[in-house]
């Protein structure tokens, strides 16, 4: 075991109570939502494990992720989580509804549930507010609204999209987020849903395994788009967070991007340095699902190929089937990176208070 004094979890999935969401929805969307005509669903791939862990229930059989008190007692307390960032479940597909006003109303009500029921319930919780990026102006309006709540530390949208996220149609989102110093994050799951493009560039995978493995493709596309379109030139204080998109592909795609830029620089004359340098400055990456090569030293070698100390932030993905526990994650990182990855990079990004000095105890690693 690696004993961590400080732990910040950047990807916890809480369930949003449907009746509570409904209570915040204005008409006509409340009537519509109540009749069950919601957002486009997922593609329906079969995961025999279920996406939600079957053991994430209280002794009384209630979902731990469905109640902030349970989440506090059975997850935050157990792992000694100092802060946990909530990214609400089943929220990203709304952004790919072809009906922009309905989508914007639902995510807004969903954010109301987050702010009223979750952020008020436990001082360790922070939240990403969900937007519907298909209509960037409505999304910007929602950002200005939720930014008033101190517990909202990030803006969240799906990595499934109808255009790469560096496209200038999204600028109102980045403008609003920049004004409030809020990072913008993407999370997988909506690939292929609603008005998004197909989940891969070559079409539709045939299994959950194929679909899930391919999710890194949309991450690469968005990352390259954000850099080459000059999003970080236009919004120099913008931070963009890649949640649950994997780690190991990053250096290889940046080598490719940097190499191509040397010959094609004139097509993006607003970039005045290597594309990878924009990535290192503006992109943050959550750790789960960590790649697990047969030889652990191969994973450590990859961490040498980019500023892992500045970019990586621990995430558990609790209570999803493919999560990483804090201990499992901490052991995968070399000791000198551990406090950066497990808490401090996230603390800086989300401006989370440092522990008071009296409680500050240095990390103890019992296994090395």
């Amino acid at each position: 075991m690696v004993a961590l004094q400080r732990l910040i979890d950047t990807d916890i999935h809480n369930g949003i109570d449907r009746k509570r969401l409904l209570s915040f929805l204005p008409e006509p969307w409340a009537t519509r939502f109540a009749t069950g005509r919601g957002a486009p669903g997922g593609l329906g791939y079969w995961n025999p494990n279920g996406v939600l862990r079957s053991d994430a229930v209280t002794p009384d059989g209630e979902r731990i992720d469905g109640n902030p008190k349970h989440l506090g007692k059975y997850f935050l307390d157990v792992h000694n989580v100092e802060y946990g960032i909530l990214n609400p479940q089943s929220s990203l597909q709304y952004g790919l509804s072809p009906e922009p006003d309905f989508a914007a109303a639902v995510v807004s009500a969903l954010n109301d549930v987050l702010m009223n029921d979750w952020l008020e319930a436990d001082p360790r919780l922070r939240a990403s507010a969900v937007i519907s990026p298909a209509d960037p102006l409505l999304a910007a309006k929602e950002i200005h609204r939720v930014a008033q709540h101190p517990g909202v530390v990030q803006i969240l949208m799906g990595s499934g999209a109808r255009a790469p996220y560096g496209n200038r149609i999204y600028d109102p989102i980045y403008q609003a987020a920049s004004e409030h110093n809020l990072p913008v994050a993407i999370h997988p799951g909506s690939e292929g849903v609603g008005v998004s493009g197909p989940p891969t560039a070559v079409g539709y995978p045939s299994s959950y395994l194929e679909w899930h493995t391919n999710l890194v493709g949309s991450y690469m596309s968005h990352l390259i788009s954000l850099v080459t379109e000059g999003t970080f030139v236009k919004f120099p204080n913008l931070r963009f967070v890649l949640l649950e998109g994997g780690i190991a592909w990053l250096p290889a795609i940046l080598w490719r991007l940097d190499k191509n830029w040397k010959g094609l620089r004139q097509t993006v004359p607003w970039l005045d340095r290597l594309p990878s340098e924009y990535v290192f400055e503006h992109i943050r990456i959550s750790t789960q699902p960590m790649e697990e090569p047969d030889k652990p030293e191969h994973f450590k070698a990859i961490l040498d190929m980019f500023p892992a100390d500045k970019m990586l932030m621990f995430s558990s993905d609790y209570p999803h089937w493919d999560g990483d526990t804090p201990d499992f994650a901490a052991r995968a990182f070399p000791r000198e990176l551990r406090s950066r990855v497990m808490s401090e990079t996230a603390r800086e990004l989300y401006r989370l208070p440092a522990p008071v000095a009296a409680n500050a105890v240095s990390e103890v690693a019992a296994d090395d």
């Binding site: 000059g230 040397k262 010959g263």
Partner: protein, 127 residues
């Protein structure tokens, strides 16, 4: 232009490579001097000589496109300029500033250039 016979260290020499009326602005000529392939360019009236070898993969860079390029700009904005001053390698498109020898994407990378002098009607390269 006789070889001094000193094999250890040779002084640079002037090599006549073209007549001034041979190269109009925008034109170039490839010459061979002491087994080096060298490109002579008329860059808007100024003569520039460069080794015909890209520092990247040793391509014959002097056979590449000479043109302008896009100048630094805001995202979404394209400003064309420096017409005739930019040499792009035919293999991977690396752009070099003929006036300084520097690569536009990374100023630490350069093509090798040689002094050019004009005496009367003759253009000389010092190699």
């Amino acid at each position: 232009m006789t070889d001094t016979g000193t094999r250890t260290k040779r002084e640079p020499q002037l090599w006549p490579v073209a007549k001034v009326d041979e190269l109009a602005p925008g034109e170039r000529k490839l010459v061979e001097i002491k087994k080096h392939s060298i490109g002579l360019f008329n860059v808007n009236g100024e003569y520039i000589a460069a080794l015909n070898m890209c520092p990247h993969e040793l391509a014959p860079i002097c056979r590449g496109r000479v043109s302008g390029t896009t100048l630094p700009s805001k995202p979404g904005e394209f400003i064309w300029g420096r017409e005739g001053e930019i040499l792009a390698c035919p293999w991977h498109g690396w752009e070099f500033d003929l006036l300084t020898g520097q690569m536009l994407a990374d100023q630490r990378v350069r093509i090798r250039r040689y002094p050019v002098t004009v005496q009367g009607d003759d253009i000389y390269i010092t190699v």
